[in-house]
Subunit: 149 residues, 2 copies
DNA sequence: CTAATTTCTCAAGTTCACTTTAGATCAAGA
DNA sequence: TCTTGATCTAAAGTGAACTTGAGAAATTAG
């Protein structure tokens, strides 16, 4: 199986390479994450760099970024080429900050959880386990899920 | 401002104490997380333990649990009393495992991110940064957000 | 060439965690 | 008492991230 006759990868190829559903790949396109070319028949044709872009998406998602954030990073990446080292360094610096913050939040939570059990107070409100001054509690409709921290 | 004339807290009191919206508190009730009593006029009356229950919900959410998971834990807690030390220990043991797993996932991610930048390969696919064998990629419709890890 | 597979578009459905709206009722302060 | 303000219910809307379905056109295997 050569990488598809002429031109690049089909959407199915890309799905196979990335493990994503075809529908998801199309969906990402509507959100400005991919910009495939079209062949004579109107079918999407992807380049090798698009595998990387989708890997990037998946990693960023598992780090807690939403698609719109990710699309924002994507704008800074070259559309059809592999990212330069500078591109990548800039983005990954940002990533590292977010990851570190997230880890710190969880460790904090775990440590305070230990303290609570140790002292047996069980009073979550006074136990400082729950810090209302967190960056939560701001946002409109929609899921709040883990934007926090 | 006494804790409300007779009986317990109103839904507004509870909202003030927890920082949650009134609508959210009602919503949680429909999901079996709270079971308030009603006064003569049909208004909800909450007890002091419900503040704790909601704190619990907020903490668990910030750890990545969904409401249905949380409701599951809630079933094991006494409905209108404060949880016993045994109750809490059992639950928090579970929590700790999840938190640790989450932290490990993120640290792993961060370390591999470093490696990728160090070697300059940028090839996320071959860089092992992205491990497709993760527990992701399974699920029907709905948000995938951070269930991973 | 034909049949089977893939892809196309567009609209609508799904889950989660809520919020918003509307109209009615209850409670509390002046 | 009257008039705000809080609460009530029920239904519909929101945003994120996709999936599913329908019908049509393109591609590929045999």
């Amino acid at each position: 199986m050569p990488p598809s006759p002429s031109g690049g990868l089909t959407i199915g190829d890309l799905a196979d390479r990335t493990g994503l559903a075809v529908s998801a790949i199309r969906f990402y396109e509507t959100h400005g994450i991919l910009h495939p070319l079209r062949n004579a028949g109107g079918h999407r044709r992807y380049g090798r760099a698009d595998i990387r872009r989708l890997s990037f998406v998946m990693i960023a998602q598992s780090m807690g970024f939403g698609l719109s954030d990710i699309a924002g990073y994507m704008v800074d990446l070259p559309a059809h080429r592999a990212p330069s080292k500078a591109d990548w360094t800039r983005i990954s610096d940002d990533f590292r900050k977010k990851i570190d913050a997230r880890i710190a939040h969880l460790q904090n939570l775990r440590d305070r959880l230990d303290g609570c059990i140790g002292c047996g107070c069980l009073s979550l409100e006074t136990c400082a386990l729950h810090n209302p001054a967190d960056e939560a509690a701001k946002g409109g409709a929609g899921p709040r899920a883990l934007r926090t921290g």
